[in-house]
């Protein structure tokens, strides 16, 4: 008789409790809160070799300008501890070519596209928004008013509340979809700039862009980047980014936030959600791990499932409530102590 080896059936994969990953940004519903970050995913086709970009909540393009732009000379990049410095200088094909070549591909692929736009005048921003008006597949415009790698570096719109507000008013008027302002953390009070953008017409905020940084090459004894200074990104800036999201959420609890800055794991993404972001962008992590956005999404879903949280939207801003409850408890304690003191005095 032939001996039959009975292989035990693979234990069924027991999924944790299902988690509703849908999230809403300015009235637009996305299937999950995982987005790419502007300038870290080009226009989609490169990353689509590694994962289906339509599986993302949204795809954020590299910033588009009115005209084609060659960017800055090389070297454009330096690795730093848990981060990198870049000085690309907004290299890109210009809006016409983007609309003709890249946007149709993203739309055809089924991606929910967030088009990042950048300009050096309010007129340029307006023109970009007009060109995108009514285009299929565009679910939102992210207005990059905070790129540190432009010639007019001293006059970045995001460093001036009045200028930031004026850009957002112009784009909001020209646009048929929600407009988000992408802000720089390199300001004295980010909540002031955020409020000005919302007053101007921004439907939401993308927090944050890179921090301005610098590396000196000690062998050549000169700046490592041809552009001298550059934008710092990666896990090194995450605590700064989380702080910015926290402060803006405190100041503007009803304004939706797309959070980004050094997200590499599901736990990092959860930090941003707890601080008040309704969705997050995975940026620099893609350079080290092309599949990072969907991996981070998977990790986030598992974390929520383990904690028995049924809806990702439930954790948005939750750290503020926890903090508030703790503050109230602390106040109560103080009151009790005060009561004791009073009692003693009475006695």
């Amino acid at each position: 008789m032939t001996e039959v080896t009975v292989r035990p059936a693979k234990p069924p994969v027991v999924p944790g409790p299902a988690v509703d990953m849908t999230t809403t940004l300015a009235g637009v519903v996305y299937p999950n809160p995982m987005f790419t970050a502007s300038g870290c995913a080009a226009y989609g086709q490169e990353l689509d070799q590694f994962f289906d970009v339509s599986k993302l909540g949204g795809f954020v393009t590299k910033s588009i300008m009115v005209h084609a732009r060659a960017g800055r000379p090389t070297p454009r990049m330096a690795e730093t501890p848990s981060g990198m410095l870049n000085s690309i200088g907004l290299q890109g094909p210009g809006i016409e070519r983007f609309i003709e070549r890249d946007l149709p591909w993203l739309t055809e692929r089924g991606a929910r596209t967030v088009v990042s736009i950048a300009g050096s005048t309010i007129e340029e921003y307006t023109k970009l928004a007009q060109k995108l008006r009514g285009r299929a597949g565009v679910s939102m415009i992210e207005v990059n008013i905070s790129c540190p790698n432009v010639e007019e570096r001293g006059q970045v719109f995001a460093c001036d509340a009045g200028a930031a507000s004026a850009v957002m008013t112009a784009v909001q008027r020209a646009s048929s979809v929600p407009v988000f302002a992408k802000l720089s953390p390199d300001v004295t009070d980010i909540a002031t700039i955020a409020r000005a953008c919302v007053v101007g017409g921004a439907d939401g905020l993308s927090l944050v862009n890179t921090l301005l940084g610098m590396v000196i090459d000690t062998k050549r004894m000169r700046p490592a980047l041809a552009g001298v200074t550059g934008g710092l990104s990666g896990p090194a800036i995450r605590p700064v980014a989380v702080r910015c999201v926290w402060q803006v959420r405190n100041a503007l609890p009803d304004t939706p936030i797309l959070g980004m800055g050094g997200i590499r794991t599901g736990n990092d993404a959860l930090e941003f959600l707890l601080a008040g972001a309704s969705a997050v962008s995975v940026g620099t992590a893609v350079f080290g791990d092309p599949q990072a956005p969907l991996r981070v999404l998977r990790e986030l879903r598992n974390l929520l499932s383990e904690r028995g949280i049924g809806r990702v939207s439930d954790v948005v801003g939750m750290a503020h409530q926890q903090q508030a409850e703790q503050d109230v408890a602390a106040d109560d304690d103080q009151l009790e102590e005060y009561d004791d003191v009073v009692d003693e005095e009475v006695l």
Binding site: A42, E46, A68, A70, M77, E79, N86, F287, D289, P290
Partner: protein, 281 residues
Amino acid sequence: MPPVQVVGEVLAVKRTGAYMSMTLVAPGVAEGAKPGQFVAVAIGGQDTGMILRRAFSIYAVKERGVYGGTVEFVFAVAGRGTEWLARQRPHDPIDVVGPLGKPFKLPAHPAVCTLVGGGYGSAPLFALAETLRARGCKVNFVLGAATADRLFGALDAKRISTLVAFTTEDGSQGETGRVSDVLPDIIDKSGTEVVYACGPMGMLRAVAEIADYHGIPSQLAVEEAMACGIGVCMTCVLPVRGDDGLTRMVRSCVEGPVFMGDSIRWDALGTVPADCVGAPR
């Protein structure tokens, strides 16, 4: 063949002269890889502070080894990332993406080809030599380095070449000097019809100029600093003249690393030339 990202396994790490070579079992990367393509390797382990990949030319592939497809690359220990890589041992996991980039183009007919390598830049030329020979091409080698221990693959070059020349800057092997000192002579003697090269930019420029002077095409694999290797970061650009005559800042990771020598704007390397598409107005 599109690139894949896999967690490979170290099969071997060995010293070779002044360099190291690493062989990874990396299914999907080896299959379909062509000479001139490269891999991008994650370094430092999961929680590392070194967040960018390191790119290396593919030296050799075995599509069906005992353990599955393997890919071998050569590197110099030049910083903390490559130090970490050199410390890895058989069975250690390494995340690798590849094959990446455009390979060397092959001549349509059996041609006389001269392959020029500087330092371990010669690594991708040996697989190229095999492919060329299989197509009936004659292959010559010119290898140069600062010192003899930095000549990579000298024995293989001798074995497979019709004509071969070595140069070292200290005279410890072959002619004293640089590859550009001996290349014109090799081209003339062998009747070279195509030049292939990989190495530092200064050497590539000299090779391109010599090929141009002889009226023959050159195909050069450039080594630009990359953050991603897959075409999304835009850091590895250089000014290249297209078929339409216009110069653009192109990504060496996806539009290269192999370029025609006469398409690279050598006069403008490290700058954005004023006549470049999208140059500052």
